[in-house]
Assembly symmetry: none
Homo-oligomer: 225 residues x 2
């Protein structure tokens, strides 16, 4: 997660950088409005922490211009003012959140995380192993560039195996997750569906992604076979 911190007071700016880096963010600094605007325009930031009182271009203006240019990077404003109307103003020029100085670092981080969580739509990541990919959103499976049509059951089995790529998954585990059979399912169904899967994602490509571990279960090769 890359952050841009626009803050003219050097001591605070450096404290923020160190603190945020310790929290695992990559941090760039800008010390005035012009520079902040320039960097923010170049994009690539997941969020911007923007002081209101800046030499040259104020934080309000920076935010306003970004929004006018259709740049919707999440912005968290910082200000010494704390009148309620100032806050409302900040939010009205398009900031996503607002903190008044002095603020607590803990709160800053919590609010930043909330902002980032909201900005990144909860789109589940694409699962992959080598050139085998599965996109839960579109429910599409591919071997390289080839789309591979799977039935609902086949898809469910593959998804489970991919989520545990490299690990052995027992048949009863698969039964529980895909068939929600509690204990008394016939493991042969699993064998049948593993067979179907292999015929679609392995055999035509001369690969061996789905491996049998005799007596234990199946393992999806982490490199896709």
């Amino acid at each position: 997660m890359r952050l841009l911190v626009v803050e003219d007071e050097a001591r605070l700016a450096n404290a923020l950088r160190r603190g945020l880096q310790a929290e695992g963010f990559a941090v760039d600094l800008a010390s005035d409005g012009e520079q902040g605007l320039r960097l923010a325009r170049e994009g690539g930031y997941d969020a911007v922490v923007l002081d209101v009182m800046l030499p040259g271009l104020s934080g309000y203006r920076v935010c306003e211009r970004l929004r006018a240019e259709d740049n919707w990077v999440p912005v968290l404003m910082l200000s010494a003012k704390d009148g309620e109307y100032d806050q409302a103003d900040g939010l009205d020029v398009g900031a996503d959140d607002y903190l008044t100085k002095p603020f607590s670092f803990v709160v800053l981080v919590a609010r930043l995380r909330a902002l980032l969580r909201r900005a990144a739509p909860p789109r589940p990541a694409v699962l992959s192993a080598g050139d085998l990919t599965l996109d839960p959103a579109s429910r599409q499976v591919r071997r390289g560039a080839d789309p591979v049509p799977l039935t609902a059951r086949e898809y469910a089995v593959l998804e489970l195996l991919l989520r545990r790529a490299g690990q052995v998954v027992s048949k009863t585990d698969i039964l529980r997750h895909v068939w929600d059979a509690h204990d008394d399912g016939d493991p042969n169904v699993v064998e049948v569906y593993v067979g179907y899967l292999r015929r679609k994602i392995d055999t035509p490509y001369g690969r061996r992604a789905v491996q049998t571990v005799r007596g234990a279960g199946y393992r999806l090769a982490a490199d896709g076979g």
Copy 2:
């Protein structure tokens, strides 16, 4: 914009309802955590204003459960506590913003608007997939240059599919968004309307924009078929 306000103190609850209605929101009230959770689960709200101190289920728990159920409706928490750690806690259970009592109504509304603006990502004026376009402003749908007349329901279904172009949308999801049936709608209506849509935007053009994903739902091809 529909809001759910979960607040047990009747005077405050009614004041909020009146004030927010005056700002143009449609407001539902819940007076305890259980009821709030139930209503929020049913969906259909654009945001939830959630008091922390509630009889029965606390606001923290309500929010936590919603998130655990993958319900990402924007939540603004209200609390009398104002320790910084309480705030961080609130944000950590998945709230999107946090106000401490006593709060200013002006700030509440400004923050709500910021929340809603964030939740509704800046929409491109026109939704499109390949040469299939839908302009929400004029409610005009076109295949290439041809205008395609759609009924209200057909339009609503297509809009939903276009907003999630490339992703699989389940029938129950469509039922919830277009019919606001909560759980018990008959999925056949969806099948019927998908049929109507196809006869208007696909069949006459020999295209296949609306794809069936057996056992999962429908997907609008990102390239318009």
